[in-house]
């Protein structure tokens, strides 16, 4: 499971990027504009590599059983999309239009599952509900042995785990639509005599449709990205196929073929998002943050509302964290050498890679934002916009794309006379992981940096230039000092995303290179749940940071 965006305020869905109407310094700088194009090319390169490689090898070379994989992928995507749509929209409706005890706290707690990677919730879920787990044990003790084995390791089980980790995307975007976009129209409908239910059906839902579409697109991309969690459940999607094919045979042709299949899935999803959005872009002014008129719930209804929200938050975050903490406690108490020995090692790998990735992504983002401020026409703006789509590309495509790039580099080097090429294709390399991270995580970093740049008046940049500052000095003396809060947020976001990231590392890591997330996954795959708990808990704690950041934003009304 890759890093979910903490909140749309920081990293909007691909389809929801704010239209910008800033007046830039229209002259443009060839050097900086070129830098933007280079960055865009770099970020697009893995996707292009997959597409190009697929074309060059003359069609797809699909391994056997691909039909089943496609069907499984379709089933999984559909069930998770339906589940998150229902759960996300329902909860958003509950907390936006109603008043009940604990609503304020719960409406934030419901975002917390964003900090729970699916590969962690997945093994906690399995340990709890599997045949040997406490739930089935309890059931058997009550109902007897003839219960048989519940089908937990199944597509259904995987769907439940993915829905519980991914619904916050839909919840956040739809809730934002309800409170930011719809209030005036909702009020108008209510004063025209519509009941709350009718106003919800005829006004709120249609107005929230673009946000719902964007949220579902994000969810679907995450499902397509995942090839770790679903393997706990013996579910073989196309992305799993990509991973197993590559790790099993190191056959670039087959891996690229499957990856381009994932790419096709992703393109269909983006197309459907466009369709669902129906060309609608609702940017209603006024009433921002004012929220809807909320109906006070009383008695049993209030209890039910509080209970439902609390139950979801508990299932998706509270109980799993509790269980992890218990395990971690007992593991530490046992002083299991495994816990302490490798822990520092893997932690160092995680932190190092995350830090380098964060610095790279922020560097790239600052170059983008600064170059855009210097002007440079439609191409440059388009290129900068294109870099944000890396976040939507499924991890399997990015990973295989990076491998295809390495293969291309190998061939080039061999053609130039170096026989072993780069030598990293099969062995993997940290460089590949970093490249993949930059492709995936530049988008959230750029959103944060760009938001900070947006708060620097263009006249300040213009003044600096007319006072004789070169673009470099403008960046050092004016833009960077003024955008430092955005830079800090961007660094945090990427570090967290990178620490949580699993599929890309699994695919690209060199032999013997293990991060915390990979370690958790390996231990969990072998049912060493207690040992996996401590690193898993650490990842969750780190991942809570950006969610808490956005909470502060909502409460204080200030951007982080």
């Amino acid at each position: 499971m890759t890093a979910p965006a903490p909140a749309p305020a920081v990293a909007p869905a691909p389809g929801l990027v704010r239209p910008r109407s800033r007046r830039l310094l229209g002259a443009g700088r060839p050097g900086w504009s070129t830098a933007v194009l280079v960055v865009a090319a770099l970020i697009a390169s893995p996707v292009l590599a997959v597409a190009l490689r697929a074309l060059l090898q003359g069609g797809l070379q699909l391994p056997g059983g691909v039909g089943r994989m496609v069907v499984t992928t379709l089933l999984l995507v559909t069930s998770v999309a339906l589940g998150t749509a229902a759960l996300g929209t329902g909860l958003a409706w509950l907390v936006s239009v109603h008043e009940f005890p604990g609503r304020r706290v719960l409406s934030w707690l419901l975002v917390l599952p964003l900090a729970m990677p699916a590969y962690i919730l997945g093994f906690v879920f399995l340990s709890t509900f599997d045949y040997a787990g406490p739930v089935q044990g309890a059931l058997r003790s009550v109902l007897g042995d003839d219960l048989g084995a519940l089908p937990v390791r199944s597509l259904g089980g995987a769907s439940v785990v993915l829905v519980l980790t991914l619904y916050p995307y839909v919840y956040l975007l739809v809730r934002a639509a309800f409170t930011d976009i719809a209030p005036t129209a909702y009020d108008a409908a209510r004063t025209l005599g519509a009941s709350p239910a009718r106003a919800f059906r005829t006004v709120l839902l249609p107005l929230a449709r673009p946000s719902l579409a964007a949220g579902l697109a994000l969810v679907t991309m995450e499902v397509l990205t995942d090839f770790a969690t679903v393997q706990y459940f013996n579910v073989r999607t196309v992305s799993v196929g990509v991973y197993l094919t590559w790790k099993g045979s190191f056959d670039v042709a087959s891996a690229v073929s499957l990856a381009s299949l994932v790419l096709v899935f992703a393109l269909v999803v983006l197309g459907m998002e466009r369709g669902l959005r129906g060309g609608a872009r609702y940017h209603q002014r006024g009433g921002r943050g004012r929220g809807l008129e909320r109906r006070e719930l009383t008695g049993g209804r209030a209890v039910a509302a509080t209970g439902a929200c609390a139950l979801v938050a508990a299932l998706a975050f509270g109980l799993p964290v509790l269980r992890l903490a218990t395990w971690a406690w007992s593991a530490v108490a046992d002083d299991n050498p495994l816990v302490n020995d490798r822990f520092a090692d893997h932690l160092t790998s995680s932190v190092l890679v995350a830090a380098i990735a964060a610095v790279s992504c922020v560097l790239v983002s600052v170059v983008l934002a600064h170059a855009l401020r210097l002007g440079g026409g439609r191409w440059v703006r388009g290129a900068a916009q294109a870099t944000t789509f890396g976040y939507a590309v499924p991890g399997a495509v990015v990973g295989i794309g990076v491998l295809a790039l390495f293969e291309g580099a190998d061939r080039l080097l061999e053609a130039l006379g170096r026989e072993d090429g780069t030598g990293v294709l099969v062995t993997g390399s940290v460089l590949g992981i970093l490249l993949a991270y930059v492709v995936r995580f530049t988008a959230p970093a750029y959103q944060a940096v760009d938001a900070s740049f947006g708060r620097i008046p263009p006249t300040v940049s213009a003044s600096a230039l007319t006072l004789g500052a070169t673009p470099g000095r403008l960046l050092r003396r004016v833009h960077l000092p003024l955008a430092r809060s955005g830079v800090a947020v961007a660094l945090t976001l990427v570090i967290v995303d990178a620490v949580k990231e699993l599929p890309l590392v699994l695919l690209l890591r060199p032999f013997g290179f293990t991060t915390l997330s990979v370690w958790v996954y390996e231990l969990a795959s072998e049912n060493f749940w207690e040992r996996a708990a401590l690193p898993a808990l650490l990842i969750v704690v780190v991942a809570v940071v950006p969610v808490a950041l956005t909470f502060r934003t909502r409460v204080t009304g200030q951007a982080p």
Partner: protein, 384 residues
């Protein structure tokens, strides 16, 4: 004075010389825009503009919002690149056949929002443009310009600790510190309180005069434009309609737009015959040079040119009275239903309904229009 002034292309020999080279090319202007055109998408912001600011001169550019006046300034600063035409600073071409980016143009720029660097104190803000100066000379120069704008004691403050007027003066000091040949000011006073504005305006002008820089000041405030500059350029839809000294632009506007935009004006159908201008209110004035001419025209009357005298038998009636303090504006309905306005002294307040005799203040030279264009001499077709 020659013939009919076409509204869109004021000829160079008109009362308000369009290129506005005050000294007729004797010295090189500090800033010159030559046939400059700039469009945003399909929307032309500036069309074939010729404009020159002489060394030491203050030129105000005025026009309704969205007329392209700020674009002129951005073109001069190098924040926009012209689609065609050229920009010159002294005898150096900075846009056109070559391109000089803003940081190498050496012009000062002051914005409406002052655009101070919020993370730097006043002294560091002002020193920002002095980085090419030897280190030892920066401090004295900062002190010098701070004294010039009268803020010597605020050098360690941060922008957020300053009032709007102080921010404006720091912005000016920062722009003047590197001794630019040209200062560009984009509505520098419009973010200030009304009661502060006159003083800041006067101080700003004094500071600019002291440094001897040429200044191009963009504004949408008529009073400011008329009182501030040596010359004034009126812009509409990206086209310079008229350039000239403020008195000339106000008193002899080249067309109806300039006439109306620069001050209150009422228009009455009128007739010239043998140098005598008559209208509904009787004889308006004589028109020297219009002998042996007969022509239907329109006459523009500014409220200060209209005199009122209570006269029970008169057909015109006071309709409405606006008290403005020192003066009182009377709206008078003429028998035709048209209205004219008249400024009266503080003490004069005629009740609505009072019949009044309307005349034109002796010595006035009201502007005549044919269509939307001002007439400064009788057209040949009207000769008898």
């Amino acid at each position: 004075m020659v013939g009919v002034m076409p509204a869109s292309t004021p000829a160079a020999a008109s009362p308000g010389s369009a290129t506005g080279d005050p000294s007729a090319g004797a010295t090189t202007p500090a800033l010159r825009l030559q046939a400059v055109t700039k469009s945003y998408g399909e929307h032309p912001a500036v069309q074939a503009v010729d404009l020159a600011v002489a060394a030491g001169e203050v030129l105000t550019v005025i026009g309704p919002s969205g007329c392209g006046k700020s674009t002129l300034l951005r073109l001069a600063a190098g924040l926009e690149r012209p689609d065609s035409g050229s920009v010159w600073l002294g005898d150096r071409e900075v846009a056109g056949s070559r391109w000089v980016p803003p940081e190498r143009r050496h012009v000062g720029l002051v914005f409406q929002d002052h655009a101070l660097f919020p993370h730097l104190d006043v002294a560091t803000n002002i020193a920002f443009g002095l980085d090419r100066l030897p280190r030892g000379e920066r401090g004295p120069r900062v002190t010098e310009v701070l004294e010039l704008v009268g803020l010597g004691d605020l050098r360690d403050r941060y922008p957020h600790e300053l009032s709007g007027g102080e921010q404006q003066r720091v912005a000016l000091a920062r722009a003047l510190a590197p001794r630019p040949a040209v200062v560009l000011l984009d509505e520098p006073f419009s973010s200030l309180d009304e009661n502060l504005r006159a003083q800041v305006r006067a101080d700003t002008l004094a500071a600019i005069r002291l440094t001897g820089s040429a200044a191009l000041l963009v504004t949408h405030d008529q009073t400011e434009a008329l009182s501030l500059g040596d010359r004034l350029a009126v812009v509409r839809r990206g086209v310079v309609e008229q350039v000239g000294p403020p008195t000339e632009v106000y008193e002899t506007p080249v067309n109806r737009f300039v006439a109306t935009f620069m001050g209150d004006a009422d228009y009455l159908p009128a007739h010239v015959r043998d140098a005598l201008l008559t209208s509904e209110i009787g004889v308006v004035s004589t028109v020297p040079g219009w002998g042996r001419t007969e022509l239907d025209v329109e006459v523009m009357l500014r409220p200060h040119e209209v005199a009122l005298r209570p006269e029970p038998s008169a057909a015109a009636v006071v309709e409405r009275v606006e008290y403005h303090g020192a003066f009182v504006l009377h709206h008078v309905r003429l028998p035709s239903g048209r209205t004219v306005r008249s400024w009266q002294q503080h003490g004069v307040r005629l009740e609505p309904g009072t019949p009044v005799d309307v005349t034109v203040v002796p010595g006035s030279r009201p502007v005549l229009l044919s269509g939307d264009t001002a007439l400064f001499a009788p057209p040949d077709s009207a000769r008898r």
